[in-house]
Symmetry: C2
Subunit: 458 residues, 2 copies
C-alpha cells in the first residue's frame, strides 16, 4: 500500500519501560526518589489503574503490545533467548507497519526482544529506524551474578547491523542516555511529518546501571538512580516535543511490560502492594502503571479505573489515526471514547490471563477474577536477593482454584468462590470460549496452538 | 484566654471518613462507582500516599487526630462502647479548643466516639456546635445481623441533648444527608469569621445505608451507593464554600480513621492491595487516603510520598493559623513546609504502630518497618462476610518478627530481617525510646500507662 499524506494526524510516542512495577512512580507511591516528568504525563493526561500487560514476561508482553493480540495467539511465549532463533512472525502486522502504511515515520530506540535474528528485527516489522539492544541486557556474558557463559556478546544494533559491543556496566549505564539521544534526534528529523516513536527502555531490568550524572543521587540506591534517569529521559523527550511545537498534537503513552522482578530484592521495583510480581498472573505481575497524554483530547488529571490491556493500544491508535486494522483477527478493543473522557464506556469486560506455553491461569470479568488451579511461581516464603544478586528462583507451587473480588480485594487474598456460584459460572463460560479459541494446556486441550512461532488459527 | 480576631486566618474543613479504605476512591483505584468530588480535592491539592492513621480503630484514631498524640498517650484505646463510661479526658486540648481560643467558630457534624457521657461530648472539647451520633451506628439494638441487646437506643445528639432516636435503616440512611445539611448550614452562618468545621461521617461503617437518591445507583451494590453519597456530600460542602466565596481561603483536609473492616466482605472497602485492614497494624489497617487542598498555598495535582500521620494535623493547623500548641507534650510534627510543596522536607522520620492496650506492634523509619512478634488478628484464611452479615471475627495469630522494606514491598510480604542487621538495630533503638516514653505491654513493661482514661506521664 502506498503511504498517503496524513499531516493532521497526531504523532505518537510510546514509552514501554522494562520490569517497572505499578508502584515505582511518585504518583503511585514510590519512596526514595522522584519521577516528576512521568507524573506530569498523569497530571496532564489520564492515568489508568486497571491496565493489564497481556502477559507478565518480556517478549510476550511486547508481542501483545505491537500486534494487539494475546501473545499466545501469535505464538510468542516467555522471553526469547539470543540463541533460540525465535521471534515474532514477520507476517504479523505491528503498530509500526500499520502506521507506516498510513504515512508515518517510524522509529524504535531501545530494547526489541521479539527476535534477534535479522529476519525478526524491527526494520522487518515496520520500523524505519532502529537503534537499541536486541534482548534483555542480563543475557550477557559479563553479567556479574550468574553463570552466563551461554550468552553471546551483546551488541548495540543499528538498523540490521551490530555496531558496538556492550562490554561493561558503564556501557550498560549508557543505555538510557543513548536511547534518549536517539529518540530526541528522531523527533528533530521527523518534525514535519507524523511519526511513531517507540521507546522501550531496557531499564530498570537487571543488571541495573545509571550514568554518572545519576549514580548515587537518590535515597533508594541504584534502583532509585535508574528511575531518576528514566524520568529524566521522559523529560528530555517531552521537552523536545515542546521545543518543536509538537506536544499538543502528540499522543504520549507510558506503560510497562510487566511487574517487578521481585527476587532481585532491592534491585527490583514495587508492585504497589499487588500480589506477587513478574512471571505470575497475579495482579503484581500484570497490572502496570499506564497513562496517556494528548492535550485537548484526553482529559487532564483524570484517573480511570476501567479494565484495559496493552493489546488495546493498537486498535485505539488505528482508530485515532485513520490507519487500517491488521487483516487477521486481533484481541485488542479500541477505547477511544473512554480515552476522550466518557467513563460510562466499558470497552473491555473480560481479560484472559494466559501464561507459560498456553496455560489459562485466570480469567477476569469486570471486578471478578477466577484463578484456576495451576502450577505457578511464588516469591513469598523465600528471601529476596540483595544488591544485584538474585534470591533463589521462585519455585512452582500448586496454586488453588479461587475467586477474588478485586473491588474490595485488589490484593487477591480473600477467596469468595463458595459465595458466588453465579459469578463463577459466568467466568467459566468466558474461560470455555477462550479455550475453544486459543486452547489451554492446563486442560490438555492445546488445539492448534503451542507452536513456538506462528499464529493460532481455528 | 480571650478569643482574638483572626480575620485573615484560613477556614478549615476536616473530613474524617469512617472505615474508608485506602483504595476506596476513584483516584486510588475504586471500581464500580465514582468519587469525582473527593478526587477533585486531590487534583486541586496534594495527595499523600504514606499517611498513617495513628491507630487502626475508631476512638483511638479520633483521639489521635484531635489531640495530636498517639492515642495511648492520652489513654484512649480501641472503640468506646456506649455503656463503658469512658472518653477522651476533658483536660486534653483538642484542635477545636486551640482554634476556638484563636477566634474560630467550631462545629462538628457527624460521629464523635470519644465518649458519650455528657462530660465527654464535643461541646466540652472546644466545639461550639454539635449535631451527630455519639458512637458507631452498629452499636445499635436494631442491628440486623448481631445480638445487639446490650446496646441502648442510638440517638442523634444536638449539643449535649439527645434529640431523636435512630429507629430504622432509613434513619441510618439519612445520616449522610443530615450531616451534610448541618455542615452547609454551619458554613452559611459562620462565613464572616474563621471557622473550623469537622465532618466525621459515620459511613461507610456498617451497617450500610444510602438515602433514596443513591440507593441502587452504583455498579458496586450498597457500598458503592454509600460512597457515591459521601462523595456527593463532599461536593455539597465544597459548593457552599465556593458559593460563599470562601474556597480559596479554606484548608480542606480529607482522610479516614482506619482501613476497611474486611470481614464484612462486600460491605467493606478496599485497602488498595495493602495487607490486612482495620484492627491490624499492617498497612491495610493504618495507611489511609489523605489529601489537603488550599489553593495558592498547597500545590495542585501533587502527590507526596513522605511519611505523615493524622497526629501531625494538629501542629500543622496550629502553625498555619497562629494558634497555640497544647500545653502538654504531643507526638505530632508540623509539616507546613512539606505541605507548601517542599518535598526535600522529611518532617516525620519515625512512626510507632501501637495497638490494643499498649502493644508496640511495629515501628517504622522512612521505608523500613520492623514488626515485633505479637498476637494479632488476620482476615486471611477465613471467608469474609456478605451482604451485611460479617464473616467470623478474625482470630489472633502469632505474628512473627519481620522487617519489611516498604519501598519495594508495600504489601509486607518479603521479610528481609536477616539481610539488614544495621537497619534492625536502628529500628530497635526507636522502639526502645518509645517503650521508655509510652511503655509496651508486649514487653510486660507498661510503665505508667495502661489506664483507660488519662494521659501517660513520665
Amino acid at each position: 500500500m502506498a503511504p498517503k499524506p496524513a499531516a493532521k494526524t497526531p504523532n505518537i510516542v510510546l514509552f514501554f519501560i522494562d520490569d517497572l512495577g505499578y508502584g515505582d512512580l511518585t504518583v503511585t507511591g514510590a519512596l526514595g526518589y522522584k519521577t516528576p516528568h512521568i507524573d506530569k504525563l498523569a497530571a496532564e493526561g489520564t492515568r489508568f489503574t486497571n491496565f493489564m500487560a497481556a502477559q507478565a514476561v518480556c517478549s510476550a508482553s511486547r508481542a501483545a503490545l505491537l500486534t494487539g493480540c494475546y501473545p499466545n495467539r501469535v505464538g510468542v511465549y516467555g522471553a526469547f533467548g539470543p540463541k533460540q532463533g525465535l521471534g515474532l512472525h514477520p507476517q504479523e502486522e505491528t503498530i509500526a507497519e500499520l502506521l507506516k502504511a498510513n504515512g508515518y515515520a517510524t522509529g524504535i530506540f531501545g530494547k526489541w526482544h521479539l527476535g534477534s535474528d535479522s529476519i525478526f528485527l524491527p526494520k522487518q516489522q515496520g520500523f524505519d529506524e532502529y537503534y537499541g539492544v536486541p534482548y534483555s541486557h542480563d543475557m550477557w556474558p559479563l553479567h556479574p551474578w550468574q553463570q552466563q557463559a551461554q550468552y553471546p556478546p551483546l551488541f548495540w544494533i543499528e538498523g540490521n547491523k551490530q555496531v558496538k559491543e556492550i562490554k561493561d556496566l558503564n556501557d550498560a549505564g549508557a543505555l538510557t542516555p543513548t536511547i534518549t539521544e536517539k529518540a530526541v534526534s528522531f523527533i528533530k528529523r521527523n518534525k514535519k511529518k507524523p511519526f511513531f516513536l517507540y521507546v522501550p527502555h531496557p531499564m530498570p531490568h537487571v543488571p541495573l546501571a545509571a550514568s554518572a550524572n545519576f549514580k548515587g543521587k537518590s535515597e533508594r540506591g541504584i534502583f532509585g538512580d535508574v528511575l531518576t534517569e528514566l524520568d529524566w529521559s521522559v523529560g528530555q523527550i517531552m521537552k523536545e516535543l515542546k521545543d518543536q511545537g509538537l506536544d499538543d498534537n502528540t499522543i504520549v503513552i507510558f506503560t510497562s511490560d510487566n511487574g517487578p522482578w521481585l527476587n532481585y530484592g532491592n534491585h527490583a521495583g514495587s508492585s504497589g502492594g499487588f500480589r506477587e510480581g513478574k512471571g505470575t498472573s497475579y495482579e503484581g505481575g500484570q497490572r502496570v502503571a499506564a497513562m496517556i497524554r494528548w492535550p485537548g483530547v484526553v482529559p487532564a488529571g483524570r484517573v480511570s479505573n476501567r479494565l484495559l490491556s496493552n493489546i488495546d493500544i493498537l486498535p485505539t491508535l488505528v482508530k485515532l489515526t485513520g490507519a487500517k486494522l491488521p487483516e487477521k483477527k486481533i484481541d485488542g478493543i479500541e477505547f477511544v471514547d473512554l480515552l476522550k473522557g466518557d467513563d460510562t464506556k466499558k470497552p473491555r469486560e473480560n481479560f484472559l490471563y494466559y501464561y507459560r506455553k498456553n496455560n489459562l491461569e485466570a480469567v477476569r470479568k469486570d471486578n471478578w477474577k477466577l484463578v484456576f488451579a495451576h502450577p505457578g511461581r511464588t516469591y513469598e516464603g523465600s528471601l529476596p536477593g540483595k544488591d544485584g544478586q538474585p534470591g533463589p528462583a521462585p519455585e512452582d507451587h500448586a496454586i488453588p482454584l479461587a475467586l477474588y473480588d478485586l473491588t474490595r480485594d485488589p490484593g487477591e487474598r480473600y477467596d469468595v468462590y463458595s459465595q458466588n456460584p453465579e459469578i463463577v459460572a459466568e467466568l467459566e463460560k468466558i474461560a470455555e470460549a477462550a479455550r475453544e479459541d486459543l486452547g489451554d494446556d492446563l486442560q490438555k486441550r492445546p488445539g492448534k496452538n503451542g507452536r513456538p512461532l506462528g499464529r493460532v488459527e481455528k
